[in-house]
Symmetry: C2
């Protein structure tokens, strides 16, 4: 009899995790698991379920292996998706990939815990007695022990069944070309509320992940592994924020910060240093650094704990897209009545994900100041968060005063400036190292003013 | 005729650089350079000069190869040290290793530029026409172009000689066991005020450094390479500061942050993450992050530039040693009248350097609050900055209420807690991951309260 794995929540992580589990190979080369993906019976959930059952990954992706494995999973016969949570009664393992959000509109950021608690209660209600629950969701440290465990215990007692095992093992998914591989071929930390939970979690992960090359790391407690996840994202966010002030300095001091960073990165102790950019987006880096402070207040009962570096980093990252806007403002002598083309609206190169994209901050601020923004992105058809259409081809761009390259999509490196400009000379702002030195030079030679964030004025546009 | 290299300033960097140059091998295995070390004709300078001429490295060092190479240099006949700057008339190359300090006691930190300018003027006055000047000193970005170059130009004009070449190439010296190697077997960036200067600097460095394994990186301008140096130290200081808030959180959340960090460090994008510690000391990390802001105001004429992350990092690092002090305060119910042994007063493990040590902050604050501090350090005989004696053997320690391990000297890992305690049960605070888990356990078993920074209470001392 096959081990049955339910993956609860078919978002960016859960969908890919379900496919990774379906691909896992057990003894004699047979599939290791029967996998059931579960999402809510609402419009969004049903669309994801239908897509997966058709063998189509429910999100735009440039990862051909993920696309192919999704197709295979649907045809292999060991995977299906459903909105019926009662299937959990067959689950030996339930992997939790439902979101846990922060409401940043409160005076103090507050946890939006109810949907998450409801999801855990559903597991408690339906899952097979003694099933292993593996929380993959990024949660405030202490959540497994103080939120999840009490719900599961209560359910098991009410049902009079064997208690559930509970483990935490966070994902390090990286959308893009190696999406699926970022689950299966990457290091993992994990932990259990007791030794049996940890051991069963390890056994599960060993089948899904290439642990020979990416050994698992067991941590002492779920709170430790929850802390690891939010700490590593806070670290990343802080490193991104750190370089911002140096980019601005470099622009004024007439230093090319990119060559400086190249010289620094050779040091093993300094190879994580980041380069200037357009800001931070996506579901994780924009909120995870806040989770420990929230955990202290809302989960662990520790009151207010200060996280001055992480807080400052989030603030700097949020404001980062305003810097290129100020550059345009200064160069054009104001923003009112100006039209600006924004090239790149996803939060990361070569992905179509627009969640919490810094481009949103840019657009909203620019429009508040009276500018008109035309949005381009080769990978995005429609900007859901702002509900507006997106141009996919640069030549569809009307005449604009400035073009901001915000995301280093590979398509932008293929632009041939002279042909693309068609005789026009907008101000060109490379806000995220999107263009090559040759392209910057060609824009300048064509008569454009050219500014690169972290380097400064490449051309004032008078040199054509 | 040999190429003559003068090294100006025989401090921690200049002394080691002079030895590295003296060791450099040219064609046919002969020494590449005749090296003359120059320092000021004051007491400190003369002591260093005499020491080097005797074949003794003028600072306590655990680097046996540096000690041996200093001895060899004195006997090989291609090295001498002197306080007579007129020897520069023979110099083909002058390497500048004189200090450039910041006065942090001003309302706004201010550059102490005069001694540095005087040193450059001395070169201009005496150096051989057309000599190459290589500035190794960490300076505010813009200093070579805006301070050094005008002085050298003026001198050459006044003397009616060929102008000097000028390059900047910063050192990445790391005191400790691999002190000399950190000069000769490590990556270097460099730059010149013109192509000839850069080329000659490259030729010089190629003889001193193992550039086959550690290729040189040429930057576009001295300002770029000056920026690289202060940026990399600001990056390091920021990474150290970042983890502080997480250590405090971990202590309260009952998480061992060290195991968490171990799990995070496997990620190549996160391998620079630091662990909690006692603070930041030494000549570089305590001041270098300030240099860009100072450069903007005093050297580049850019006015006030904000460096919020770097400023916050320096503040957090300065206050870091106060955290273990507060732990002791809380554990002992106040500091007044308490005696504390401070184990480790240098700023770094396995070095004797006490410059700007965080231990100084600890001692001064503790004594201000009425505690008595007994200082230990296996490597330091006398604490020059505080002008007080240092105990070298732990058994010389009188009865104290608490012992703080502040520096992870290897000697501390050899302590056998039971024997060392001799029946006493002071509070043990491991503030810098100085002790092994076994040692912490043994201190606890002996009846000591044990607290580890970044982990929390290991034992309340009641479990003996």
């Amino acid at each position: 009899m096959n081990t049955v794995v339910c993956v609860q929540g078919l978002g960016f992580v859960g969908s890919a995790m379900a496919i990774a589990c379906a691909r896992a190979v057990g003894n004699l080369g047979a599939p290791a698991f029967e996998v059931i993906g579960i999402d809510l019976p609402n419009e969004q959930g049903k669309a994801r379920i239908d897509s997966l059952n058709r063998g189509e990954f429910p999100f735009a992706s440039t990862d051909s292996s993920l696309i192919e494995e999704t197709r295979r999973a649907a045809h292999r016969g060991n995977f299906k998706a459903t909105s019926d949570s009662t299937v959990m009664k067959r689950a030996d393992i339930v992997v939790v990939d439902v979101p846990l959000d922060i409401d940043f509109d409160q005076p103090t950021p507050k946890l939006v815990l109810t949907p998450f608690e409801r999801a855990i209660a559903t597991i408690g209600e339906h899952a097979k007695p003694g099933a292993l629950v593996v929380v993959e969701t990024t949660v405030p440290p202490g959540t497994c022990e103080n939120v999840v465990l009490p719900i599961l215990r209560q359910s098991a007692e009410r049902r009079g069944i064997q208690p559930f095992a509970l483990a935490h093992s966070y994902e390090r998914v990286m959308p893009g070309e190696h999406y699926l591989e970022s689950i299966t071929s990457f290091w993992r930390a994990y932990s259990g509320i007791d030794d049996d939970s940890a051991r069963r979690c390890e056994e599960f992960l060993t089948k899904v992940i290439d642990t020979a090359n990416y050994p698992l790391k067991r941590l002492s407690s779920p709170t430790a592994s929850e802390t690891a996840k939010v700490l590593e994202n806070a670290y990343r966010a802080t490193n991104i924020a750190f370089i911002d002030e140096w980019g601005r300095f470099a622009e004024k001091a007439n230093v090319d910060l990119y060559e400086v960073i190249d010289a620094i990165r050779v040091r093993p102790t300094h190879n994580n240093i980041r380069q200037p950019g357009f800001g931070v987006g996506g579901y994780c880096l924009t909120k995870d650094p806040e989770f420990a402070a929230i955990a202290a207040r809302e989960v662990l009962g520790l009151g207010n704990q200060d996280f001055p570096m992480s807080e400052l980093a989030m603030r700097i990252n949020r404001d980062m897209p305003l810097h290129p806007l100020r550059l345009i403002d200064a160069n054009l002598g104001g923003l009112h009545g100006k039209s600006i083309a924004l090239a790149g609206i996803s939060y990361r190169q070569d992905v179509a994900d627009t969640r919490y994209s810094p481009s949103q901050t840019f657009v909203e601020s620019a429009e508040r100041e009276g500018a008109t923004i035309h949005c381009f992105d080769p990978l995005v058809q429609h900007w859901d968060e702002l509900d507006r259409p997106v141009l996919n081809e640069m030549h569809q761009c009307p005449d604009v005063h400035a073009v901001v390259f915000a995301v280093p999509h590979r398509e932008f490196r293929a632009i041939e400036p002279h042909a693309w400009l068609g005789g026009k000379t907008p101000l060109i702002v490379d806000a995220n190292d999107c263009l090559s030195a040759e392209q910057l030079g060609a824009f300048a030679a064509a008569g454009c003013g050219v500014h690169k964030v972290g380097r400064g004025l490449v051309s004032d546009g008078a040199g054509a």
